[in-house]
Symmetry: C2
Subunit: 153 residues, 2 copies
DNA sequence: TATTGTTATACTCTATAACTATA
DNA sequence: TATAGTTATAGAGTATAACAATA
């Protein structure tokens, strides 16, 4: 009977529920001043975090979705000039998806909105608690993702 | 430039990505030995956490979804005898959704699987880190949910 | 007529399967 | 013929709108 564990899981569930809400995404795009659906935002922010152009398969792997899904959204982002296809330097016959200048700006705005939400929530926290949260969340992420990956094979 | 903040957000995103994956839900239902879709599981676990029968509107509010969505899934769960409608003690003309005995068992299995994933990930952690994670995650959940709720009006 | 829930409908998100291209 | 990606299709998830019921 681990009370800490239950509280952790339950708090995590509440967070996910609040952040996955449709209205939450509306607020995000409103605040960022863009008109993008959720997969679009995920792909742009993923590319921004990666810091370099990535192949379709790598994006799908990173976002844990199937590649046709990525293909469709990348095509639409490409039409809107937010991403473009560039040659893969490691493999001349392949392409990578790169953020355009505008895409970089839009991705930055979207990422910033989420970050600001966390920032707002943590505003009254001590520097020590913020540092501890960061350390433990990062550790949890690493350990839980590894644990789950182990279950998938 | 808050490095802790970025790490917190980014770790959180990874966790959500891994847990929202379609295959993750497959593993959950496999491990629990049930055949339920994601909304079904969410509703059952929500009722179990609540510890008492709840009205449709309250479930929708708790899960942050619209009520027609809850209506549909509750109807299907009712047909499968996992939930049943009982009179609202506070308001004789209204109904509440209650877990049946079997529903309680199924909900418990589902909740336990997720809890065990976290448990597995935290197995090597010190008791102190586990307690700190629980405290900080709970605090984050409260503060961030409140912060977001403030943005929704 | 205000509240709560339901029915009907449509849109968004994501998966699977079948196909294409390229080496 | 393996690999990466695309096209086509279908299913899951959730929202909106219109309606019904009950007080």
């Amino acid at each position: 009977m681990d009370e800490d564990l239950n509280r952790t899981v339950s708090a995590f569930r509440s967070l996910v529920t609040a952040l996955n809400r449709a209205k939450t995404h509306e607020r995000l795009t409103e605040a960022a001043g863009v008109r993008l659906d959720r997969p679009d935002v995920k792909i742009l922010v993923h590319l921004l975090d990666a810091g370099e152009p990535r192949r379709i398969g790598a994006i799908a792997e990173g976002l844990q979705v199937e590649s046709p899904h990525v293909t469709r959204h990348v095509s639409s982002l490409e039409q809107r000039k937010l991403v473009e296809r560039v040659r893969d330097p490691d493999d001349g016959r392949a392409w990578r998806i790169a953020l355009t200048e505008e895409g970089t700006e839009v991705a930055g705005k979207c990422r910033r909105v989420t970050t600001e939400w966390f920032e707002g929530a943590l505003a009254d926290w001590s520097a020590q608690d913020r540092a501890e949260l960061s350390r433990l969340m990062d550790k949890l992420s690493g350990d839980l993702c590894a644990h789950l990956k182990g279950l998938m094979d």
